[in-house]
Every structure is written in structure tokens, then in C-alpha cells.
Amino acid sequence: MANVHKDFHGALSYGIEYLHERSGDEGVRAFFSGLAGTVYRPLVEDLRKRGLPALREHWQRIFDLEGGVIAFEMQGDALVLTVHRCPAIAHMREQGYAIAPNFCEHTRIVNDAICKAAGYAASVEYNQVEGRCVQRFWKAAS
């Protein structure tokens, strides 16, 4: 089982703030988009190969490890992930860490990059204050 050290969410939040301060929205987007070709390359390949079940299994594993509260449903051909309790936001609040104002944007950027690289598309609507979001994933029109 993977080791879970949730303070890393706080460090990531500081990293987002730092990037934004130094290079604005474009810098944040450039950095996090690039992760699809490195950190998330295995997920991209799995998504391309197996489709939406790969994403569903990824999210299930991650949120189980971190103790998030989520639900899945299919809406037509789209996989919908509803996060009722984001473990990152919850932990940072519990520990009193500063949370970058644009923290949740990294989810949009990383999801977009992963999906685009695999021939899929994504959207997210979030409420960062409440630590909730709805993420959607579907196969992009070819």
C-alpha cells in the first residue's frame, strides 16, 4: 500500500502560489500541462488503451487512499466523478495551511492535459471553499 503523507498537499499549494507569483496563469498552466507527458504518462496510456474505466479506477484508488468521499455515474457516454469531500482541501483546512486561491485549477489543467493526450476531453466545476467538485470525462470527437 502506498504511503500517505497529506502534508504534501500543502507543499503543492505553496508551489502553485509560487509559480503564479512568478509567471502568472500561463506559468501554472505550462507546468501542470506538462505533467501529462511525465508523471501521468502511464495514466494517459491506460486511458488510451482501456478508455474511461482506466480513469474511474485511478480516481477510486486515489480517493480511497486519501479518504475522500466520491461518487461515480455515467451520463450518456460521459463518466461523472462527484467529489463530496476533497481530502486535499480538508487536510489543508484541518492543518491550517494557506490554500492557494487558484488551488483547484490544477485539477482542470491536469485533467485537460491527460485527456487531450489520450483522445478524451474533461470539464470540472468546483467549489474550493467547500472542497467539492464535479468532474466529467468523455471521448473527444475525432
Binding site: 502506498a2 504511503n3 500517505v4 503523507h5 505553496y14 508523471v39 490544477h106
Partner: protein, 156 residues
């Protein structure tokens, strides 16, 4: 959401990203920023309990992060002997990212300067970054005023 189980790879990639755009000075500035802005909990442990606080802090964090290490606490010394750093292992042995060449240097920039602010002497020695081996030794110098050895009224 980037999971905390994926964070170390992202961290390493962020170091590389900053280095490629601003050079080492930009990476050092980022590490200093983390030390100054993010490690408030470590500061609180040191401020209230000195060496014992450091032992508590790393017992907790390394307990969660995994790996293999020995923490030693003497009256005047605290030592971390890292035998298998969980984060260096992910960076250097997982194949997930191309390891950032100075990855292990972040610890040297994050922790010793912060600890020295409280009156301690700190040595940080990387033995092998690829193998995840290092040692940090924190000593309270004789006669030094530190949180766990405050100045006596008769000294002032």
C-alpha cells in the same frame, strides 16, 4: 486532484521546470520560500520543545512517508540516519520521471537554515542521492541558548 502519493514526482518536475527557466537561483529561491512559508509546524515543534520537537516532527512525517531511517535523540543532539529515503527512491528508482539532478539538495535548503535560527548547529550530508542515503546531525553547542536550553536569569 494530484494525490499526495504522486506529489514527489511533481515536486521533482517543478524543480526541473524552475531550473530550466530561471536556473539554480530560481530553484534555491523556491526552496527558501518553502522553508520560510510552509514549515510552520516544524518551527512550532522546535520553538516549544527544541531537539525533542524535531524528533517528534520527523517521527510523524517519516512514519507517514515510509522508507527506512533511524532517528536518534541525545540530550544535546538529534540525528536522522536515512537509509532508504522514500522520496529519493520514488524519484530515482521508479522510472516515472527523469530524476532532477539536484533533487536531494532541497533538504539542505529547507531544514538546516531553519533549525540554525534557533541556535543549533546542523550538518547535512548526502551520502548517495540515488540510493536515498543521507544524515542530518543537529547539535546544541555548549552554552548556546536554544528553546530547550533557555538563558538562565543569572546569565542575563
Amino acid at each position: 486532484m494530484i494525490s499526495c502519493t504522486e506529489f514527489i514526482w511533481v515536486y521533482s518536475e517543478l524543480f526541473r521546470y524552475l531550473d530550466e527557466r530561471g536556473g539554480k537561483d530560481e530553484v534555491f529561491a523556491f526552496w527558501k520560500g518553502i522553508s520560510d512559508n510552509f514549515l510552520g509546524n516544524l518551527r512550532e515543534y522546535i520553538r516549544t520543545e527544541g531537539l525533542k520537537g524535531m524528533h517528534k516532527y520527523w517521527t510523524h512525517t517519516l512514519g507517514e512517508e515510509g522508507g527506512r531511517s533511524i532517528l536518534t535523540l541525545y540530550d544535546d543532539t538529534f540525528i536522522i540516519d536515512m537509509h532508504d529515503c522514500p522520496s529519493a527512491r520514488l524519484v530515482h528508482q521508479s522510472g516515472r520521471v527523469a530524476p532532477y539532478e539536484s533533487y536531494c539538495e532541497h533538504c539542505r535548503h529547507l531544514y538546516p537554515p531553519l533549525i540554525r535560527e534557533y541556535g543549533y548547529e546542523v550538518d547535512y550530508d548526502v551520502i548517495s542521492c540515488e540510493k536515498g542515503r543521507c544524515r542530518m546531525t543537529v547539535k546544541r553547542p555548549p552554552g548556546a541558548v536554544t528553546p530547550d536550553a533557555p538563558a538562565r536569569a543569572s546569565d542575563s
